[in-house]
Amino acid sequence: MTHTDWPLWEVFVRSRRGLSHTHAGSLHAPDAELALRNARDLYTRRGEGVSIWVVPSSSITASSPDEKDPFFEPAADKPYRHPTFYEIPEGVQHL
């Protein structure tokens, strides 16, 4: 038998209005339209969503774990980006 494994799609679901889409899982589908419908049937059958995105898994470019340090560590030593870095005299409000 020939193999016609349908491509893999990543599914992102917005659980309710006001929230962003979150990765829910993946599934197989021959094309985008059916991917969307399969996603609806599979990932929102208990009312988990109000909007769905599907993306071919092969279209996702991910950072490599190997580059984890150069990618993410430099951000760790810049405390001045966070409000708690600054000392404000007691009693000053609305800051």
Partner: protein, 244 residues
């Protein structure tokens, strides 16, 4: 969904006709469980079956006790269309059956929802479910019709085979205030468009059998239906009066 008892016998008859359609088609779709062509489709077919079963329960409850009606009536008392009792066949037959029925049901429930009859609340909710069923059937009709040579042949065969059961869908049902000829015209238009897009030929045979013209609504069914009921009702009937 609140269940309003049908006001009179005409509405009871209509509730039975619509309820039996949904019940029997749901049962047929349930037979797919465990051997759909691909896992994603297991989930899709079950969703449709569950929607239909939900509709059936509301409708039968309008006509009486849902379980008594489903499990204790004899074959001649069922009022469903012959179309919905047809065996699943291959996936193409199931899709053709879905296409014919859901396109019809969508239009019918749309009218019922817009009216102010006893079926309006149910129809208003169900028509959204049915829109999805129709979409599912159309999507698959397009893919099977315009897929491979084999799928095209199978889909054409299925569309042809079930064509003879489509005329019955537009026979007036007592208790339903619907413009049936307009419904039929709209159905045919949509269907033609889908079949053409799917590179399929619109069948040109008769839409009712000479012998059984529109018989499901009068209680006359096809051979396979007896077996459906035998299977569906056996356990329930084996334990009279039991609760489950």
């Amino acid at each position: 969904m609140t269940t309003t008892p049908a006001k009179d016998t005409a509405h009871t008859a209509a509730a039975l006709a619509l309820g039996d359609d949904a019940l029997v088609l749901s049962h047929r779709l349930g037979e797919w469980a465990g051997h759909a062509p691909v896992l994603e489709e297991e989930v899709a077919l079950a969703n449709i079956a569950l929607d239909l079963l939900g509709q059936a329960r509301v409708l039968l409850s309008m006509a009486g006790d849902e379980d008594e009606l489903a499990y204790l009536r004899e074959e001649r008392a069922f009022r469903n269309l012959q179309l919905v009792e047809q065996p699943n066949g291959d996936f193409a037959h199931t899709i053709a059956r879905q296409l014919y029925f859901s396109s019809h049901q969508y239009l019918l429930y749309g009218e019922l929802a817009a009216g102010d009859g006893p079926f309006a609340p149910l129809a208003g909710k169900a028509v959204k479910e049915i829109a999805y069923h129709r979409d599912h059937a159309e999507q698959w009709t397009l893919r099977l019709g315009d897929g491979t040579e084999e799928s095209h042949t199978r889909m054409q065969r299925a569309v042809d085979a079930l064509w003879r059961y489509t005329g019955e869908m537009f026979q007036p049902v007592e208790g339903l205030d619907v413009d049936w000829p307009a419904l039929e015209a709209a159905w045919l238009e949509r269907l033609t468009e889908v079949l053409v897009r799917a590179t399929l030929t619109v069948p040109d045979g008769p839409r009712t059998g000479a012998w059984a013209a529109g018989a499901g609504r009068q209680g006359l069914h096809t051979e396979p239906f007896g077996r459906v009921l035998a299977e569906m009702q056996h356990l329930h009937r084996s334990h009279p009066g039991a609760t489950w």
